[in-house]
Symmetry: C2
Subunit: 358 residues, 2 copies
């Protein structure tokens, strides 16, 4: 009696309720609903009917306990507030949800300790797999996770000598595209503001920058290369230094839109005009890049696809843990707008934009 009117919520229907209602055993109900085993037509019908009328939903927790794994996938991101990630998360989620997986999201905040803690938590929650934007610092933790036999996929960044599926973009090629375009438009002193030396994307983009310069037989001035944290403040500080150089650059390539925000601030504070006094180009193409004045020329990344692909890789690995490691590269694309000076440098106008677009 006291149970009956508890808080007004009736206890959820279990497999036993369905079994009783259909006058079969719980085993039969399970078999019918799993659809694997063969059950006779009449019983099957009765079970389905009972399940429907009782609005039976299998208890995922009990199922997990039994199966020793859940249909939950962990997603571990260094910083949700970086506007690059939401698109990725979205892609991951859409694909996983379609496969009846739920997403458990974590934020490591670029802190190895926090990351570690989250990894443990995910394990404890019994996740069936993990999509991860790795941080160079915690290779050991990843190894442990992998050693447990848990499926794992890396997005955006790679952990060099870890045999794990990964999805990244063509960082070097994208950076080279930028530099080639800048050269074509007439720039000669091109600076690069990139992330920490141990960050995979920072390194690759820097490599692309160098390659493009070499390929054009341009000198490489080390003072035009800045390594800073991947945040607006980093870009601000780096741009400040670069613009104070005796021979300042005529173009600054920020390898991320966050960085570019800081670069822009430094440029504006000095009253410099973009692109007349200095061109600014970036990497990411976040939604606001086109709204800036002048609109920002950037490398566009397929964030959604990055996530969706990672999720697909994860599902495949869950299905077949023994399959060979896959390393997928997604294409980047140069979005030529005005901040690079494509149309603003008088005699130097070129049709690079058209050339690049195709």
């Amino acid at each position: 009696m006291s149970r009956a009117h508890r808080t007004g919520n009736s206890p959820p229907t279990t497999i036993r309720d369905v079994a009783r209602s259909a006058r079969v055993s719980t085993a039969t109900v399970s078999r019918v609903l799993a659809g694997l085993s063969v059950v006779s037509k009449p019983l099957s019908k009765r079970v389905h009917a009972a399940a429907r009328t009782l609005n039976y939903q299998p208890n995922r927790i009990a199922r997990s306990l039994r199966a020793r794994t859940t249909r939950i996938a962990g997603v571990l991101i260094p910083n949700i507030q970086n506007p690059f990630f939401p698109g990725v998360i979205r892609g991951i989620q859409d694909v996983l949800q379609a496969a009846d997986y739920t997403v458990l999201l974590g934020n490591s905040d670029y802190d190895p300790a926090r990351e570690r803690k989250y990894l443990d938590l995910l394990r404890a929650e019994g996740v069936g797999g993990l999509v991860l934007v790795p941080d160079a610092a915690s290779k050991k933790a990843y190894r442990e996770f992998l050693a447990l036999g848990l499926p794992m996929v890396t997005v955006d960044q790679c952990v060099p000598d870890l045999a794990v599926d990964s999805v990244t973009v063509t960082n070097a090629e994208g950076a080279a595209l930028v530099v080639r375009h800048l050269l074509a438009v007439g720039h000669r002193r091109i600076a690069i503001v990139t992330g920490p030396k141990d960050a995979f994307t920072a390194t690759e983009r820097l490599a692309g920058y160098r390659a493009a310069l070499t390929e054009a037989r341009q000198p490489r001035d080390p003072s035009l290369i800045a390594h800073v944290p991947f945040r607006p403040e980093g870009g601000y500080e780096a741009a400040g230094r670069l613009l104070s150089l005796p021979a300042p650059p005529s173009a600054i390539f920020a390898t991320g839109d966050g960085l570019a925000l800081g670069v822009l601030r430094a440029v504006h504070e000095r009253g410099l005009h973009i692109p007349r006094d200095v061109a600014v180009v970036s990497f990411d193409d976040l939604p606001w890049a086109a709204a800036l004045q002048p609109p920002l020329t950037t490398i566009s990344q397929p964030t959604y696809e990055l996530g969706a692909t990672a999720a697909r890789l994860l599902l495949e690995r869950i299905r077949d843990p023994a399959r060979p490691v896959q390393r997928v590269r997604l294409q980047t694309r140069l979005e030529v707008r005005l901040s690079c000076g494509a149309q603003g440098r008088g005699a130097m106008k070129t049709n690079t934009a058209a050339r690049v677009d195709d």
Copy 2:
């Protein structure tokens, strides 16, 4: 033998392993680790030692099955890609994680069907509570969730006649701040671009706009009010219409930075100068607002605190399901920058900025 070298991963240690190692019963282990019941010193010590050396982590799934609830909290957001939400999520996550809760994140995409599905899923995963950015469309689904006795908190938006804890900001007051400032700076034809009529924040901000106009005894021109979807395209379209008016506004108040992005594009496309030809003010103060040229004057919202407060309310409600409903309002703040024409309108310069800042 075949089990022994499975995939190289030893089976996780259970409470039984600890019990055996400490030469006590599983019940004692459970009691010691829960710390509720009283256990004698020596046994307690042995248990702790055993647990530590075996690196025992209680299985959360088994625990959930037993407790009929999990230490997972659901978070349901209409759209992660809206840069307003990551800050909120971050706040939620920090607080919940500190309380040993994990966050299960969902994206409804403003689609009631998807939202519905996610709500069901969260229930199936046995979440212990829910933090929700509600969508007017699915009031019924929320009611059901609540009827199940599941703790729930609403952020950013309110569901008017639903008795549920909520955290929102002072939308009307913020909007009024904007309008008063624009009036003080000399604007008379002030347009507002806001969200759909059934969106709580859109309505409140519109109310603030109206109130400020009335309070200053200014006429209200209905053609200066635009309701559009809360996305850049909406802002673009609305601004286009407004600027084509026979008597166009001298200032446009976009009630969200996403909207402002579209407004800005429309203004730029017409070759209009901000703030000389038209002022633009916004709501949210996303990280890039200050990097625009001119820097965007906006109402700043405490996104992180919004999330953190919601999480705290949720924890409190979980602890005490019977406590009275709490509706918390967080303060907004006007960030006066240049897009409003505070310093750009010659004779109309005022010291509003200083007045507002304190």
